[in-house]
Each structure stands twice: as C-alpha cells, then as structure tokens.
C-alpha cells in the first residue's frame, strides 16, 4: 500500500497495546448496517503506471506551451523564471502547515511578510493580507468589508460592467443571503460617469477593474471623489502585472485594491490554484479578513514574524467574524514574492511594456484588416476586443485547425451586445512572428 509504512508485526504489537484484536474492532461506534462499504473504485496502480496515465491525459489537451495562445480574459500566459518553481519545490515550504507555531515557521512567515510588502508597494496601499483564494473571492470579501464598515445599514453595491463576469457572479453568490442590491453592470455602456450617477447615501461600495475585462484603462480619481462624497468605498480590481507600468490605484484614493496574482509567476493550470490579493487603507486593517503577518521580537530581542490580529478571524470571533476564511494560498503568495524579487523593479516594468507594445502592435494590424473593427476606444493595456466578420467560434476553429493558434475569448457568451466580438490578449510570450501569423490567419478566415 502506497505511503503506509506498517509491517504486520508492528500492526499486531500496536493492536495489542490498544487492547483490540483486529482493525475492525476499532470501529465499534460505527453503525453496523453501513460499515465497511464495498467502494467501486479502480484498483491501485504503481507510480510508473499512474504517470503514464497522467501523461496521456495531459497530452489530450492543448496547452500554451505547445500552441500559440492569444487567450486572456482573466488568466494569462506569462513567462515564469525557472527560479520560482525551484523554490516552490522545496519541501520545507510546500509541506509545511499554516504558521500557527511561529518558532518553527519563520520561513513561511517572513516570506508572507515580504509578499505583503511587495503587494503594498506595487499597489501603493497601506496594508495587504496574506492572500485570498483568487481575484473573484477577494472582490467578494471587499464587498463584505464594505458592508460591515457601514454596519449593515447600507444595501447597495455599484459594479462596473467592465469587471470580469466570473468576479461579478461570485460576488452575487456570496451576498445572496444578505438582501443586497447589486447594480450598474447590466448595461455595458455604463462608464465611470454613469456609475457615479448611481451613487447615493445607500451605496456601500463602487467597484471597478483596472485594466478592465476588455483591457481598458482609465483614471478613477473622479469616481473615487464621487464615492467618498456619499460615504461609499472605492474598490479597484487590478491586474498586478499591469502595475509594473501603470499608475497604482492608491493614487485614485482607492479604499480597497484587490486582484488576481496569477500573472505574477503562477502557471495558468486550467484556472487554479491562483492568488487573490487584498489591500486596504490603514483604517480598515481590523475589518480586513484573512491572515495577516506582523513583525515583532522574541525574548532575546531578535526580529521574528507572527500571525497577528487573529482576533479578526473565525477561530476566535466565530459567528462575529467578518468572514469564515481559514486558508490563504500561502504557496502562491510565495510564488509571486519570488517572481517579483527575481524580476525586480526593472524586470516587471520591462514585462509590462513588452505586453503593452505587442498588444498595441497587434491591435493596429488587426484593426487595419478588412472586416475587423477594433471595439476599444481610448487607452488599453494588453487586451482589446475586435468585431469579427464571422462568429468567433468559426474564427477560432479556423485559427486552431489551419494556423495552430488558440484564439481569443468569445465575448458574446457574457455580453449579448458583443456577439461576434473576440477579446485578444497579447503577452511577452507572443513574438512578432506569432502576432503576424495571427493577423494573417484572421485575414484569411474573413475570406473563406
């Protein structure tokens, strides 16, 4: 039996010490009628066999390593320096538990403190927690914070239609028991001015995305002012990699900045695990959910790190906790800390610029094709939408079969007004040659 070390002699000696005759005797308390079910599971295989099986499953997929990829929409194909995975593979990191005993967990604790620091410095915010599951759940936790900040007296949340559809769905799932009114995202055309128009004294929070789902970027300072004028909080969801180039959302006077850290050194992995980062202004630190690492000293005056402000958390506050969250995604936070350290100040800026310039090149080339229209007006980061002359599914079928390219996202699935519109993402992984192939493919499929 895999990973079970007992010999028959040891088993017998242990049963004797416990005072039972057989293993079955250990389960007297279990109702006899339902005890020891005959599970319909396949028989065990060896490590050699299981890897063959998994290899076959892996090869039954296309993946961005073997197929050119222009698909984004919240998960991105980025370069991960080899150093990241080598650190993640250290057993001392990945087989450790949550650092509840700080004396033997300084590695995890300091790494998370550094992650918190890096994210604060990237976003310009005062405090970061040790992470949430992903950007979507981080946004839901932001809504909960805003709700508690107003002591349950306000009931309206304004959401930009530019926020990732999955994030908005997740917020709605989380809040379904709380009787709240979520507005703003039903109309694609609701820009910042329109969202500001929806703010009133019942609004607890307005949330926007930066860059948004369509890659668009804008300055939210005016929206922030409008929100604060009615006492509502401004929450900005970011792509942290974009912050290598773009103005940090703290400059819009954001109260909460969340986002998904997958672009920071985490492979796409069919959507998970990922990394939800969560940062706030200082005044909200005690209302913030999730783990928090703080600096302190030991009895000898030596610096050390501990989980702190635990009284916010479920294991102490129980039903008065603002959230039930127990786990963070510590290993993914470590991945992004290593990524940001390895890339550094110049590397992150370089990557962001490569994405930006390549995407703009692609947009210009595609926009110039007959039958294609660039939907985006104004500034964008590394994603843009184009109206295609044929349904997106047909275009993508052609791109895959004829050009070996994974095409962009079919926006019609989430926004009925954007039928036949494709969302294209370009990253540092896409060479000019690949972009030119995409352009050529798009040109060809328009005529087929």
């Amino acid at each position: 039996m895999a990973y079970i070390p007992h010999t028959e002699d040891e088993r017998q000696a242990m049963l004797a010490a416990v005072g039972v005759r057989s293993l079955d005797d250990l389960y007297q308390a279990v109702p006899a009628a339902v005890r020891f079910p005959d599970l319909e599971l396949p028989e065990a295989v060896s490590e050699l066999e299981v890897m063959e099986e998994l290899q076959a499953l892996s090869e039954a997929n296309l993946d961005a390593r073997h197929t050119v990829c222009f698909l984004g929409a919240g998960a991105y194909n980025h370069f991960v320096p080899s150093v990241v995975d080598h650190i993640l593979r250290r057993g001392e990191f990945y087989t450790a538990y949550t650092p509840y005993q700080p004396e033997v967990s300084q590695g995890t604790l300091q790494a998370i403190f550094e992650y918190q620091s890096l994210i604060c410095n990237l976003t310009g915010m005062d405090v970061s927690n040790a992470s949430h599951y992903d950007g979507a759940t981080a946004l839901a936790e932001a809504a909960i914070l805003a709700y508690n900040h107003h002591r349950g007296k306000r009931s309206k949340i304004v959401l930009s239609p530019g926020i990732h559809p999955h994030y908005r769905q997740t917020v709605r799932t989380y809040m379904q028991g709380m009787g709240l009114n979520l507005v703003g995202d039903a109309a694609l055309g609701n820009d910042s001015a329109a969202l500001a128009g929806l703010l009133d004294s019942d609004t607890l929070m307005v949330a926007v995305q930066y860059p948004d789902f369509f890659g668009r970027i804008e300055d939210f300072t005016a929206l922030g002012k409008a929100a604060h004028a009615v006492g509502a909080l401004l929450c900005v969801c970011v792509n942290p990699l974009a912050l290598g180039l773009l103005k940090p959302p703290a400059e819009f006077d954001a109260d909460i900045v969340v986002g998904d850290g997958q672009p920071l050194g985490i492979p796409m992995s069919f959507g998970g695990p990922s990394l939800g980062h969560f940062t706030v202004k200082k005044e909200f630190v005690r209302k913030m959910a999730g783990r928090l690492v703080g600096e302190t000293v030991d009895g000898r005056g030596q610096r050390g790190f501990v989980l702190t402000l635990s009284t916010r958390e479920q294991h102490i506050k129980r039903e008065k906790a603002t959230s039930n969250i127990c786990t963070n995604v510590a290993l993914m936070a470590l991945a992004s800390a290593v990524y940001l350290s390895a890339m550094g100040k110049r590397g992150l800026r370089q990557v962001a610029e490569l994405c930006y310039h390549k995407a703009h090149y692609a947009a210009e080339q595609i926009g110039g094709l007959k039958g294609y229209t660039l939907w985006n007006r104004g500034e964008f980061f590394h994603e843009f939408a184009v109206r295609c002359p044929r349904p997106v599914a047909d275009v993508n079928r052609f791109l895959l079969d004829e050009c070996g390219i994974l095409g962009g996202y079919d926006l019609g699935q989430d926004y009925p007004e954007l039928r036949d519109h494709m969302l294209i993402a370009v990253t540092e992984m896409n060479s000019k040659e690949q972009i030119d192939d995409l352009v050529a493919g798009l040109k060809e499929v328009a005529h087929v």
Partner: protein, 493 residues
C-alpha cells in the same frame, strides 16, 4: 541571527532575470496613467535563491519531521503528485480554452467527481470550492437555496455543536443565517435532548463534524440525522475528519445531505504553508441541482473506439459560481494521482492505519496525560496539557518544549471544550518508530513539568527564534516594509 528582508538585500542597478528585447515598434504610453516609480527590490538571481532557500530552512515541515497537528491531517505529500501537476498539458492549459481542446482535464475532473462521490456516498459533487471554509459556505448556501426553492422562508437557523471549528458559525453568519449553539454530552457527543428541543420548522439544518473535534465518532449519529430530517432540516457534514472514514463508512450512507472534502487533508495535496487547498462539496440527490458550477458532465457518450466527450455544465438551480473558473485544478490533479495510487483497498488501509496510530499514541500516553473522553478514538484524540502537580504548566509550554526535540506541536487550545487541549493526529504515514519516539518525548516532558518546569517555560531553546511577543505584534502593527528610497523609514505599520 535573522535572515534579512528582501528589501535589505536589494542594491540599485542589480540585474534581475534577463528578458527579450521588444520586437515590435513602441506604441505611445497611456497619457497620465504611467507610474513614476516602482518600489520593488533589485536582486540578482543568486541573491533571490539564497534568500528563499535560507528562509525555507527555518521551517518545520512534513518533509522534515513528525507533524501531529490535530484536525489538519499532516500526512506525507507524495512527490509524484508534484510531477503530475506540472505536466505541461495541465500546467499550461487555459481555463477558458474550448472544452474540446481540454478533454484530458475534463476527463480527469470527471473521474475525480465520480470517485469522491463513491467514497463519500453522494449523488453529485462540485470541485469548484477552493478550501474547506469555502466548501462550507457553499454547503450552507445550498441548504438555504433548497429551502427557498421549496417556498419555505421561515428556516433561518443553523444548529452547531459547541465543539465545532470556528469556521462553522462564521460561515453561517456569512450566509445570512442565525447560529444556535448545541451543548455536548458527557461523552463528547451532540446532546440529544438539547437537539430535540431545538428542532422545529425554523431550523434550516445542522452542521456536524464526524468524527467530531474530539476525534470521537458520534455515537448517536443516525439519531441526530433522523431528528433533523424529521423536523424538515438538512445535515451539513464537515468533512475535515474524513481520514478516519475512508472505506469504513460513507457519510452519505449515514444520511448526511451535503459535505465538503478537504483535498489538502484527506487526499494528500500539500498544505503549502497555509494553502492552496481544495474543498469539493458532495450532495445527496435532492440537492444536485443547487451545486455551484460549472461541473463536468458527459456531453456525448463514448464507445469502445471513442472516448466520451466531456463538457462544462451549470446545474439547473445552481447557487452560482463561488470563484472564477473551475476550482483549484492543480490540486485536483494531485488528488486524482493519490486516489489512483491508493486504489480501492488503499482507502480502507488509510483509515485503518490512521485510526490505529492515533489509538496507539493514546495508549502510550494514557496515565501520564489526561484524556477527558477516554474511549477508542478515530484518527485523532485530545489530551490535556496540564497536571495538578504542576500548576504553572500549560499546554502552550508542552507545545513549545516539543520543538526542542524536532517535533511540531499538536494543535493547541482547540476544541474549546477541553482545558489546555492538545489535539494529536499522527496520520497513517508515520511508522511505529516515529510514534514511539514521540511518545517517549511526551512522557519526558510530563516528567519535566514536575521536576524542571522552568525548562518548559523558557522553551523552545533550539529553534531559530524563541517565543515571540504577540502582544507587541498586535499593538505596534508592522505589517509591511517600504524601501528606504521612498523617503520613509525602512518599516511602517
């Protein structure tokens, strides 16, 4: 001697990872939206490697030594799982690529769905929730949605035993429901009389952990379930303690209506220093339509020549998504690998040896440590870390002293219903040798408590840091550091 912070190792101009030069013309940068500075460190690769390797060496981990944290199931994390998850078809697949191009992933998820249902005795399952607490929220929202769909808006209460993990009441509050706490009886079970008194038509359900947080199998579990069902409520099972039940009993067969699994406990996916986990939720037949989605289904049946075609489908009355995309796929690959290597017989063997190991340690410590509910336990048991003859010694002191011997302490101060609780869960991964070594040290510490209490009070002695000032950490909040170049001191709160 502490490891410097990453910012302290930084030097302006240090070259980081080399990147390719741009191969396209430069576009104009967005006006007014470009940041002026970027306060990230500058390090060369060797600095990064040394820093994080040295940090890793400050940790205790399963790969280093015994880790008997009750309720966490710190079993061995197989290395083949890590290789499996990194196969390129898994690691570099995009969640939104056409399902026809991701059939390997969907087949894997479908098999895992089937196997977890079989193991737990459930009719349907979602692999989307990212962790146990996330699965709990999902489960309670499903119960709520079920009653709403029946047109019953009166059911606003969730009954929770006082031995429950803090996530249980926190989850209930988050779902907009009301917590009603139930006492435990003298044998550590749910108090049946109190349960009967609390059951009425305002009860949406009960949250039950079985085995409970004392490591004991609920002696009246079927009565408890019947009582709740009789008043029209549903039973939520906290599956954190599944390790004791694999191949022994299926929670679904006991009448549990909805349950979350912790893949990072029972199914060997690594804890990662605090995540990522994965918390799939299984349900009985009548709750299948309410699962969060999408879930994997067979779109076109296969035959001898062709594999079935799998697709992603949203259940008919789904509570909605609980996160972006499909769930922690990387952890699902690891769990799949583990179940394949354990196989049918392996499930029962895991439970047998987890339960045997816990009872063995309990037998070795009996007489020296008081075990308040001293009967055959499941995969864990709770002892008290205190003695009348050593009035100044607390569970905390025992825990800290254990670190001097290379053991991670058991869970402290949980469950709340035992004084100075030490919750010990060896798991099936440990050999008799390791358990004997642990028992010897525990007995020695008990002796020291009487003869040399100071050595416990001042423990740990051999760890990288001593006991840390948690009061200072909470009062003088220092939660991040800023680089000096920002003109502020190197640290700020």
């Amino acid at each position: 001697m502490s490891e410097p912070l990453i910012y302290d190792l930084s030097a302006p101009g240090r070259p980081g990872v080399p990147l390719p030069a741009p191969d396209v013309p430069a576009a104009g940068l967005p006006k007014g939206l470009v940041r002026k500075d970027l306060p990230l460190p500058e390090l060369s690769e060797i600095d990064v490697v040394r820093h994080f390797v040295r940090l890793s060496q400050l940790n205790h981990s399963i790969d280093t030594g015994f880790y008997p944290l009750g309720s966490c199931t710190m079993k061995y994390n197989p290395k083949v799982n890590e290789d499996a998850a990194r196969l390129p078809g898994f690691a570099f697949s995009h969640p939104l690529q056409d399902p026809e191009t991701a059939q390997g992933n969907l087949a894997l998820m479908y098999s895992l769905q089937e196997w977890l249902c079989e193991i737990g005795g459930f009719a349907g399952i979602s692999l989307q929730p990212a962790a146990g607490a996330h699965g709990e929220l999902t489960g309670i929202l499903i119960i709520r949605a079920y009653h709403q769909a029946r047109g019953d808006a009166r059911r606003t209460k969730i009954l929770i035993p006082n031995s429950a993990h803090g996530t249980n009441p926190a989850t209930t509050a988050m779902s907009g429901m009301q917590v009603v706490e139930l006492p435990s009886d003298a044998r550590g079970n749910v108090d049946l009389a109190a349960l009967r008194a609390a059951c009425d038509d305002t009860v949406a359900g009960l949250m039950l952990t079985n085995p409970n947080t004392l490591g004991l199998f609920e002696e009246h579990v079927q009565e408890v379930v019947e009582q709740i069902h009789a008043c029209g409520g549903l039973v939520y099972g906290d599956g954190a303690n599944m390790n004791a039940l694999l191949g022994v009993v299926r929670p679904g067969d006991l009448g549990i209506d909805v349950m979350h699994y912790n893949l990072h406990k029972t199914f060997s996916t690594p804890h990662g220093g605090g995540g990522p986990g994965s918390g799939p939720v299984g349900v009985c037949e009548k709750l299948v339509d309410f699962l969060p989605g999408p879930i994997v289904e067979v779109i076109e049946a296969g035959d001898e020549d062709e594999a079935p075609l799998f697709g992603l489908v949203m259940p008919a009355q789904s509570i909605g998504r609980v996160k972006a995309f499909h769930g922690h796929f990387g952890m699902l690959v690891r769990a799949y690998t583990y179940i394949r290597m354990q196989g049918k017989a392996g499930m029962r063997a895991i439970a047998d040896h987890a339960v045997l190991n816990a009872n063995y340690v309990r037998a070795r410590l009996r007489g020296t440590y008081h075990v308040p509910y001293d009967r055959i336990c499941m995969h864990e048991f709770v002892a008290e870390g205190r003695w009348a003859e050593a009035p100044d010694i607390r569970a905390l002191d025992v825990a800290k002293r254990l670190m001097d011997f290379g053991f991670h302490p058991p869970t402290n101060y949980f469950p709340l219903i035992v004084h100075e609780a030490l919750m010990i869960e060896p798991t099936e991964s440990e050999s008799k040798q390791v358990l004997d070594a642990f028992a010897e040290v525990m007995l020695r510490i008990a002796e020291e408590a009487r003869t040399n209490p100071d050595i416990l009070h001042s423990a740990p002695h051999v760890t990288p840091v001593g006991r840390l000032d948690e009061v200072k950490a909470a009062k003088d909040l220092v939660l991040c550091c800023r680089p000096a170049e920002l003109g502020e001191p190197a640290k700020r709160g």
